[in-house]
Symmetry: C2
């Protein structure tokens, strides 16, 4: 054991906090305050009231002002704002998401889509919660396809008003936080129509309810009722029957209508204009990504502490074996720990990019592209990983994991929706995949593929989101049939090459399939043929995007290694390798089919992972300690040491009985003795 | 389309009902009655009261008497009893599991572990619910390892009583339904000690609470509180401080203590005795297996009906595309449909075997072995599959899937615990794996492997559960490098050979690894070496057991095909093939590493699956209709046709606007026209 390296926990903890440690600590201090914490089993009505009250407490604590302009008493601290927000998952995800609705969606839309008069008129009340609001984008009939929403905002030059109208049931706004009860206004997305022309989706500020809770004339609301989680949020529907608002309620940063009905915009292309507006809302994805990683940290802290104390089934020494010493337990939990670290480092890169763009420090087109790529690639992977991790932890902690006071099921229920809101994960990955295809087509000047990529864009409601696909020019070494060992591929360059090669080859294969399928098709049949061809490749494209995201995570982990040294670096490198090789193992069939790994080497990959897991087992508690999750943040009975106390009490009882000679002999033992005596007698 | 075969839905429906159609229809009639149905968002206290009331309604309806002896007014209909029970998942899983606690565990323990005086004394009140009870087996410190529980039952010949005692906190009985509030008695599992000898775990009838809810002297209870699901059940803890019960409260079918303290049993081996007692409780696993399949049917009925109506993103014809026409949606949902059918047929086999054993029609050792193998192999696979299916359906239905009234999240929450109760799934698969190893060792007279298998048995708390591993003597054809096509492996014999070969080879590989690792180890070091060797193979052994279970499912589906003909047979064969090839695709890396499939043929497998999915897409609604789940059973708004109505209303609105010339031209279209005009003008 003396040769086992140990990490410097404080150094690792700092790396896990990232750039906005102070804001994270402030967020954690709030989460450690009982006033912000979930009460399991609370009724929906009470939970909703409590969450609303918690939002006021956040205002009092000065916790929400960071992202707003200094001129209005804010901090202009965009990264720090999200960092603090992400920690609220330790308090109650309902509180987190309700605050996200109020300030991250409703308030941020006014901030980013509106102009100064709007800021002055509404933001002060938004910030103090004097004006709770909803973000009315999604419609029943159009979830992910925002460009196709049905709500109309028709300009009436006679009265200089917009008429907000819901023409059919499918255009009801749906799943909106603050819509069922608390919202007094909403940012409503609608097709802007003036002078008989539809200028596409724009956002409008629409009062919906008096402070007393009376609906405004023409505005209707319906309660979504109980949900699978997040029941502290009053989600609901909104619809509008010829509701008139002043012309100046158009949030007109990207498009304006003059008094006479003339439309103007400084972005000429309607497509690019739409996606620029939508792009300002990327912070939701950034926020969820880090929140998901925090839930993973919480879940693994609970599971690994419990598994290091809990004993089950007698081992060879007679005493029950600790769960964490079982090979299968290690296989279930330790790769998730490596994944959590990788996702945390990737999440930091995303948040830093977000801050650079939104603070204006580096608000270039290219950096915005990077930001949108990263968010669309990482948010799906981390939110899915959070659900998988929470479920594995639930099962690994057995019945105890099912009891609400041990936290895991609550997080699982609340975070369930994270995988389909702020962009359905599969749609987001298609955005990434489309960009991979477009870049591929550009590289090879392949017009056919470019045309199909355009179809993909149409299919996923995306026309101009721009992604900065990292240049992946590494030449792939021959990683083939050398020897039955992992030696040749253990270095980081080989890991990178294997992961990169997979993304590039998959994209090239998809592009080729698409071109094959539409070759020689007549011009007029092209759209249908392209759509059909895309459909056959859709699942593969999503898989390629996922591979791209995994590569980004691996790169982020690898970059983070530069911040460590000595034994810490040794251990963190094992953890990175565990993450990298698990990715390769997960996709072994691809590496085998495509001749990148021989069968023997594929087996060596698995054997090496087993070795890494054996080493990480000794590090597991340190690596969890570095999360610095206090009992107030975890609040899980089984992570408090209670299990070790029980085990010790039980062992002490047995030992005392044996010492006193009062421990009854087991019938099995008795029979063994009798058999032995019979033998001697014979 | 005229060439598309169509299934005979009534014939398929009958096959899905299986042998106890009448009892299933009766169960469904109950589930369709609002008095038995979940109320989303109900408080824990109200839900518990409601579930208790529902149990009384079940008694009134005559729904629970089937499994009890005719002499006591029962039906002696074991299979029919479970079949009806499995349908209650459509009403409320809390009701289902609470009834399972009362009659399937508490009542069944008295029936199967007790003798006639016990039956006469208690079963009538158990059946009428005059005597609600708990099943007190699990302890905080020993979940899956029942043999090691700490509770003691020490015989006192002076008073002819047993003293039930909880010696330390880890021995508190935990997670017991009916323990927190409603139970008046419990079947308590404890180490039976008489004359200074511990005869191992036996079951005792212990009064715990008066009908007024007062705890009996020496009995303590603690409420587990809110759980991740099943909140209609009052789970709690129980502990005993020198609680005295009459000697005759020992449920003495398998072991008895005379007045003078003499212990006797007709099963000589303490190990075999224990597992015989535990074996009588297999019905819990049988019940959960079919309930999980029912939840899968419900979830897929909801998702596929919704996906066949819901449209999203404009297709090449200008109209939005139906979700079910997207390649990725088909990939997500249709293999789950094939899996659901396979699991339903496998579940029928399990239930029939259960009925043969418990009705006494075919209560041979061999058939009991088959029953226990089947249950331990199938319950893990179906309960996990149910969670995966529910989650995929939740995500595929987006925000709508998260709303409680659409059912999916409720089932997901309630069924979560199914994967770790009535046997933790991983432990159950280890039992199967251990049997696979033992059979392997027996076949090759390999003492080393047999010794290690024994260690496995120790590690998983299993000494004598006997499994009937099906003889798998098929010779494996050379399935290698012939051609880039699936033709050579499309027939059922090839599917069977591929699936069988994987199980056999994995077991052989594990056996070899175990033997290698312990070769030449000194006798005294053997136990530790065996345990260490097993630990390295534990994950693989579980995977081998899973492969065995998958083979059983495939066999059950294949046998079920004999009941179909004509076009129905054609479609059902596609579905079976989809199931079989998905299994092979899921494990492609194994087939590649072990040289069973070439890379080219592996790709052909995936291509063939894509073709099958394209065909099944046309059958999806018929295959779901054959579940015969009425609106009263599904009760999901999005499965009622409401989405199609909304889509039609929206389309009609647009069509009318266009016809009236009031549909505003889109700026994009306008610009295109302007560009075209400019061209003409130039």
């Amino acid at each position: 054991m003396s040769s086992t390296p140990r990490i410097d926990k404080a150094v690792v903890a700092d790396a896990l906090y990232g750039k906005w440690k102070q804001e994270r600590l402030e967020g954690r201090a709030l989460a450690a305050d009982p006033r912000f914490q979930t009460i399991p089993g609370q009724s929906m009505a009470d939970h909703r009231e409590r969450a609303l009250g918690q939002l006021s407490l956040l205002v009092e604590a000065g916790a929400i002002q960071r992202a707003f302009p200094k001129s209005l008493g804010g901090g202009d601290n965009h990264g720090g704002n999200i960092a603090g927000f992400q920690e609220l998952v330790f308090a109650d995800p309902s509180l987190q998401i309700k605050s996200g609705v109020q300030w991250g969606l409703f308030g941020a839309a006014i901030l980013h889509l509106g102009t100064e008069p709007h800021h002055e008129a509404w933001l002060p009340d938004v910030m103090t919660l004097a004006l709770p609001g909803a973000f009315a984008m999604t419609e029943i009939g159009h979830g992910s396809d925002v460009a196709s929403i049905g709500t109309t905002a028709t300009y009436d030059p006679e009265t200089e008003e917009f008429v907000i109208h819901t023409p059919f049931k499918g255009a009801w706004k749906e799943f909106l936080g603050n819509a069922a009860l608390h919202g007094q206004a909403a940012v409503v997305f609608a097709q802007l129509i003036t002078r008989g022309v539809n200028h596409g989706v724009h956002a409008f500020f629409v009062p919906i309810r008096t402070p007393d809770g009376e609906m405004m004339p023409g505005v209707g609301s319906e309660d979504d009722g109980v949900k699978g989680g997040l029941n502290g949020i009053d989600n609901g529907r909104l619809h509008f029957t010829n509701v008139r608002i002043p012309r100046t309620n158009l949030l007109n940063r990207y498009g304006n209508v003059d008094a006479d009905g003339t439309y103007s915009s400084h972005i000429d292309s309607p497509g690019r204009r739409f996606f620029t507006m939508i792009g300002t809302l990327v912070q939701g994805r950034v926020s969820l990504d880090g929140a998901a990683v925090n839930a993973m940290k919480g879940a693994l802290a609970i599971a690994l502490r419990y598994a290091s104390e809990r004993r089950q089934f007698p081992g060879p020494d007679g005493r029950d074996t600790t769960l964490l010493d079982y090979g299968h337990y290690q296989r279930r939990l330790l790769p998730l720990l490596a994944e959590t670290y990788a996702m945390q480092f990737a999440s930091h890169r995303l948040l830093e990019t977000f801050d650079e763009v939104f603070s204006g420090v580096n608000d270039t087109d290219e950096n915005r592209e990077d930001l949108e790529t990263l968010a669309a690639a990482l948010k799906p992977l981390s939110t899915w990983a959070a659900l998988d991790t929470l479920q594995e932890v639930r099962e690994a902690t057995g019945g105890a994991g099912f009891i609400a006071k041990n936290r895991v099921t609550g997080w699982r229920q609340d975070l369930d929706i994270y995988v389909t809101f702020e962009g359905d994960n599969n749609i987001l990955l298609q955005l990434v995949g489309k960009r991979l295809l477009t870049d591929y087509a550009a590289k090879f000047k392949d017009g056919d593929v470019a045309a199909i990529a355009k179809v993909v864009a149409g299919q996923i409601g995306e026309g101009a989101v721009r992604f900065g696909l990292r240049q992946m020019g590494q030449s792939i070494a021959d990683l083939g049939q050398r020897s039955r060992s992992v030696e040749g591929i253990r270095d980081p360059e080989s890991q990178r090459a294997l992961l990169t090669d997979r993304v590039e080859t998959m994209v090239a294969q998809i592009a080729m399939s698409l071109r094959e399928a539409t070759k020689g098709v007549a011009r007029e049949d092209r759209p249908a043929a392209n759509a059909a061809a895309f459909n056959t490749q859709q699942a593969k494209l999503i898989e390629a995007a996922r591979a791209h995201g995994e590569l980004l995570q691996w790169e982020a982990f690898t970059e983070a290694l530069a911040g460590f040294e000595g034994e810490t670096l040794t251990v963190m490198t094992w953890l990175r390798d565990l993450f990298g090789f698990r990715l390769i193992e997960k996709h072994l069939e691809w590496y085998l089919i495509n001749g990148r790994l021989s069968g023997a080497r594929a087996e060596a990959v698995t054997a090496y992972i087993d070795r890494l897991i054996g080493r990480i087992r000794e590090q597991a508690l340190d690596l969890v300690d570095a999360f610095e999750l206090t009992p107030e943040l975890l609040r899980a009975e089984i992570a408090t040491g209670i299990e070790a106390e029980r085990q010790e009490e039980a062992q002490a009882y047995v030992d005392a009985q044996i010492a006193a000679g009062t421990w009854p002999v087991h019938e099995k033992e008795l029979r063994k003795r009798q058999r032995a005596e019979a033998k001697v007698g014979a």
